[in-house]
């Protein structure tokens, strides 16, 4: 994690090569700006005809979304005017290790799809089957090629968790189509 180990950011010009400006940060700033503005408008319409006084419940939503929109606008302008100026790595997020340009978006996208499928099927198909299938699928998406190992872990984990939660801790988990 030291300075000498962190990879050079591609947007920093090296050896006279032209700088590459990543689009991602600007798009994200734009999305934040638009969503902030939208929420501000929503807060405004939500207040209806009520007067917006200091003690009204409509004040905080307007202040917060207004602040959001203004800050996002500043960020957007900064990222358009000076796209090179990225903040240094934040150890909390550990993001300094990898540049956004090196990220493979397919893996998180597939994981997100698997997650949504998992929770949508959970109540009807049941915890045991969906968890087993999801665990296996997620491990494969994350790059594992040890099918047998992951399959066994998937079955053992979901069974152990199901019975520990429902029998020992009295927490409801859907049994779904299985007669358990």
């Amino acid at each position: 994690m030291s300075a000498s180990e962190s990879p050079a950011r591609p947007e920093a010009p090296r050896d006279g090569a032209p700088a590459r400006h990543p689009v991602g940060p600007r798009v994200f700033a734009g999305v934040l700006f638009v969503s902030g503005g939208g929420l501000f408008w929503y807060a405004f319409t939500e207040s209806g005809d009520d007067p917006i006084t200091l003690d009204s419940p409509h004040l905080a939503p307007l202040v917060v979304t207004g602040l959001w929109t203004v800050l996002a606008a500043v960020l957007l302008v900064k990222s358009l005017v000076r796209p090179d100026e990225a903040p240094p790595a934040d150890p909390e997020t550990d993001a300094g290790e990898t540049d956004p340009a090196d990220v493979r978006w397919l893996t998180p996208a597939l994981l997100a799809v698997a997650l949504v499928g998992y929770v949508l099927l959970l109540p009807t198909v049941g915890f045991l089957i969906t968890t087993t299938v999801f665990f296996f699928a997620a491990a494969v998406i994350l790059g594992s090629r040890r099918w047998w190992r992951d399959g066994v872990i998937a079955v053992v984990l979901s069974t152990a968790v199901y019975f520990a939660f429902t029998r020992l801790l009295d927490i409801f988990l859907p049994s779904g189509v299985l007669p358990i």
Binding site: M1, S2, A3, G24, P25, F28, Y42, A43, E46, T53, L54, D55, P57, H58, V64, L67, W68, L71, A72, L75, K78, A86, P87, P88, A89, D90, P91, E92, T93, A95, E97, T98, D102, V103, R104, W105, T107, P108, L111, A112, L115, Y118, V119, L122, F135, A138, A139, V140, L142, G143, R149, D150, I153, L157, S158, V161, L169, I171, F172, L173
Partner: protein, 513 residues
Amino acid sequence: MSILDGLLDGFATVLSPENLLFAAIGVTVGTFVGVLPGIGPALTIALLLPVTFSMDSPTGAFIMFAGIYYGAMYGGSTTSILLNTPGESASVATAIEGHQMALRGRAKTALATSAIGSFVAGTLSTLALTLFAVPLASLAVNFQASDYFALAVLAMLSVTALVGRSLLRGLLSLAVGLFIGLVGLDELTGQARFTFGTLELFEGIGVTLVIVGLFAVGETLHVAGRLRHLPDHIAPLDPGGRRVGWMSRADLSRSWRPWLRGTAVGFPFGALPAGGADIPTFLSYMWEKRLSKHRKEFGKGAVEGVAGPEAANNAAFSGVLIPLLTLGIPTSATAAVMLASFQVFNVQPGPQLFEKSSALVWALIASLYVGNVMLLLLNLPLIRLWVQVLKIPRPPLYAGILVFATIGVYAVSGSVFQVLLAYGVGVLGLFMRMYRFPIAPVILGAILGPMMEIQFRRALLISNNDLSVFVTRPLTVTLLALAVVAVVLPFLPKWIARLRGRSRDRLAFGEDD
């Protein structure tokens, strides 16, 4: 009840076989999950929250949480040292020096100085907590609505300004958190806000959901995109197969002063309502570097650079419990989730806590002492077991985290919508991590925002809508002034450095990396 009576009662509660078992489970699970790379104490508690739902009394649950709280810290240090993946920013100094020590065949010394330092700091700062919590709580009884409003502003702004590297991004994160806190019915008028006509949003968005979304789902999606770039080399405990000792006499004599200094820096900083553990660990690191006779070793594995910050981190961790217990103000993500867990059991931290729930809070404090001893006994002798945990391959590990994140939210709410909401927060967390937005302000905004608004409106109600209530009470003014200082403070090193004509040096993460 005197402090001693309270503490003795607390020990009597904790030392019952049942509660000792809870403490043992807490520290073991806490260490286990803390060792897993990428999982910090906040997520550990958030994921384990459902496990306590079936418990009849909150005492056992809190004893377990205290164990998890400390256990996750001890476990996190092991991961920082052996794998160089700090689970939270407060462990960065440990990751730098500790991992360098490990690479030079001194992993065991780094682990020992970190564990013993954590024990020393944990015990001393729990002692300070014992002594100061009650007097501070009785002071806090006099706090009024405007003071609480100012406290919430101070806590949010200082954490936002001091944690991240970019104030603009920090404030945006905070605004997102404040927005999340606004969703639902207004507590005073019952007015629906940002519910978009969805009944499920009337109750608001729970802090646990936000933490699980940001830390579990967001972190996993973030990791998924950069699997090839993750550190996976675990430094060996006994290089070359020959067994080495834990700490030599020289290591010990180089460590004990940093342990005490780290504790002295960490506890007061943690105890401030501006808190958090990041600043004291960083200060301790700089202090040790300045005082050390082995300054050249810093950056290449100096034992003082592990001993001091680890002690500071642990001491700040206990310090954070002071504003949490006496004021009900969380100043870190972990404290926020602790507050959420208190609320699950209908226990409201604040000045009255020591009167209303005296038995519970003393049992919690006593369990911190017991947990620390257990962790010292558990950590080093079982180090080979923890190294095995570190070897768990990433794909099934992260698949498991996603499963537990899903159950965590589903078991609490029984609602698919809430789980989808957590996933949505996770996707937001992915982009925030990617584009270097700090995460902690989101959580503090979500939990402190509603409190800040209620106190603001309450203060206005008392003063008949007169805004001067915020500038006439000395305590309120002082706290608000401190909030301004906190926002300006991060710029000071930069300004001073500019005056001196050099760029600032903030650990190894200079702006010109």
